[in-house]
């Protein structure tokens, strides 16, 4: 296995483990120690403390849980909803397809992050609202992709055979079309993880995500901007973690695209 594959895999795996095993570790993310405010590092906390004297490592793990939950939640919801809407729309055609295409056009016609910011602002703070706001924005990409893919495979012979045999449209989409179009959707989902992680942190940075005392990497960075002069580690720690996870997801997406994309292979 090459470095390009195991480096992102190792990072994603650590992120996953941090999020999953976080609750089992003996952590005190909300333990305030006034004597250690903004301290760079000491023997018990290598990453240092924040402006309230809370250990950054413990908060980093808590932030990993937040970003992981939101990423998995948003990507799963939008993958399922978007794929189904797009696939059914592409398969059925007609007025339903027209309507769906119109809606997709409207959603794609203005910046998604702006809608997410406005929605999260209107819905009010909280992780659930972040998931809702981001899912409302992200299903569109999957819908457009799966619709285009279904259009390109729906005239294949095995689909025609299934239609001739009287198989119901639902089964045709689920059994004969979806398996064929999964590869590009998985690649899209991998890139989706990267953009959702950034978007969640962005919303939390703006104060629209998790609420204190819960931690998100975005809210940790926001806290850090106020102490940039005296405690840059408050930004560096969550900033580097965030960057590594996003970089890893992007690298993994690139790798998957090279490996899974059938069209690329045939061309070679």
């Amino acid at each position: 296995m090459s470095l390009r594959l195991w480096f992102p895999l190792a990072i994603i795996l650590s992120w996953f483990l941090m999020a999953l095993l976080g609750p089992l570790m003996a952590l005190d993310p909300n333990q305030i120690e006034l004597s250690k405010i903004l301290l760079n590092h000491d023997s018990s906390a290598l990453l240092g403390y924040d402006d309230l004297g809370r250990p950054l490592w413990d908060r980093l793990v808590m932030g990993a849980q937040t970003s992981f939950m939101v990423a998995i939640g948003v990507v799963t919801i939008s993958l399922i909803v978007g794929t189904l809407i797009g696939a059914v729309s592409g398969y059925l055609g007609g007025w339903f397809d027209h309507l769906v295409t119109r809606i997709i056009d409207i959603f794609l016609a203005f910046p998604g992050i702006l809608l997410a910011i406005a929605m999260a602002g209107i819905l009010g703070p909280g992780v659930e609202n972040v998931v809702i706001a981001l899912a409302v924005v992200s299903w569109v990409g999957f819908a457009r992709l799966s619709r285009a893919q279904v259009l390109s495979v729906k005239h294949r012979e095995h689909v025609q055979a299934a239609i001739a045999l009287g198989v119901s449209p639902v089964l045709i989409v689920l059994r004969h079309l979806l398996p064929l179009i999964m590869a590009p959707l998985i690649i899209e989902a991998t890139f989706g993880v990267a953009s959702v992680v950034i978007a969640e942190a962005g919303l939390s940075f703006l104060g629209l995500g998790v609420q204190a005392p819960d931690a998100s990497w975005g809210s940790m960075i926001r806290d850090g901007t106020r102490y940039l002069l005296v405690a840059p580690h408050m930004i560096l720690v969550p900033g580097i973690a965030l960057m590594l996870v996003v970089l890893a997801a992007n690298l993994l997406g690139d790798q998957l695209r090279d490996r899974l994309d059938v069209r690329l292979k045939n061309n070679r």
Partner: protein, 308 residues
């Protein structure tokens, strides 16, 4: 061509009206009462009713939507719930700062991306290529709310060359523009590379080489110029990312633009202002995309005839 323009403009109008409708409905469906925010929880019910009536909030939602659209066509966006000033005035006050920031970021992005993408394409599969694309990948992966503070740390705190925030002169524009432009530069350099690679494999490039033109003339005269068109189109599409990013970048640097106004409006639950900000940004985005479409249709007849 007339049909093409008309259909493009019509669909742009549908999008803008659709977006404003979505935003309006979202704002009016959610719990949380702006009247309560304005008057506080201890206000007398009679006062609340009076204010509700004054703001038109007691009407059915559909009627409010109708009033909103009528106002929109008269350029009446209502009044801010926070400062009671006309929303249009607030927008006009903030627009120059955002335009300035967006243009500066665009320049930063183009200045970084074109040389980088060109080198990567011309020296494909070499260290140059890998270096440039590695740089682009890292650029895509650093969110602007990490990039911004890091730049402040380096240039304002450590080196003390540039101001930390605010909008006072050219020096204060540099850091926000680099923050916002670098992400775009990363995306753009990948596009330049891909587009140039495609062009460089064309027959006329081979002919140019066979004629004995210098490599510089081949790449610049025949390559980059032809690779530009698809890149410019994609640049139009990236504007949305730029405008979305402006909201965060303006917050980091206290840049008094539309993005900062949006966040202020959210914090103050100032719905007329929020609604207008979202509408304005969508409008700009849709207009730029429509213009890009039209320009492309003008340059490439296959598209306007629907064969593309």
């Amino acid at each position: 061509m007339v049909n093409f323009i008309a259909s493009r403009l019509l669909s742009a109008l549908v999008v803008v009206l659709g977006v404003s409708c979505i935003v309006f409905l979202f704002i009016h469906m959610i719990p949380g009462d702006p009247v309560e925010v304005m008057l506080g929880e201890s206000a007398r019910p009679a006062d609340r009713e009076a204010l509700r009536e004054a703001l038109g909030l007691n009407l059915p939602v559909l009627q409010q939507l109708q009033h909103y659209y009528i106002g929109l066509f008269q350029l009446d966006l209502g009044h801010s719930l926070h400062s009671s000033r006309p929303v249009l005035d607030l927008l006009i006050e903030r627009i120059p700062a955002t335009v300035e920031l967006a243009l500066a970021s665009l320049i930063v992005a183009v200045v970084i991306a074109f040389p980088l993408g060109t080198i990567a394409a011309v020296r494909q599969h070499t260290l140059w290529d890998q270096g440039a694309m590695g740089f682009a990948l890292i650029g895509v992966s650093i969110p602007n709310f990490v990039m911004g503070p890091l730049l402040i740390l380096l240039f304002s705190v450590t080196l003390a060359w540039l101001p930390v925030s605010g909008r006072e002169g050219f020096a204060s524009l540099l850091l926000p523009a680099i923050t916002l432009g670098s992400a775009l530069a990363a995306v753009l350099s990948r596009m330049v590379r891909a587009s140039l690679l495609e062009v460089l494999s064309e027959d006329y490039v081979r002919t140019a080489r066979a004629k004995g033109l210098s490599e510089w003339r081949v790449v610049w005269g025949h390559g980059v110029r032809n690779a530009l068109l698809p890149v410019i189109t994609l640049l139009g599409l990236q504007l949305g990312v730029l405008l979305g990013g402006a909201v965060i970048t303006e917050t980091i640097f206290s840049w008094p633009g539309i993005g900062q106004l949006t966040i202020e409006a959210i914090q103050r639950r100032d719905y007329p202002v929020l609604q207008a900000c979202v509408l304005l940004i969508s409008l700009v985005y849709v207009v730029v995309n429509t213009l890009t479409d039209l320009a492309y249709g003008w340059l490439d007849p296959r598209i306007r005839l629907g064969e593309g």
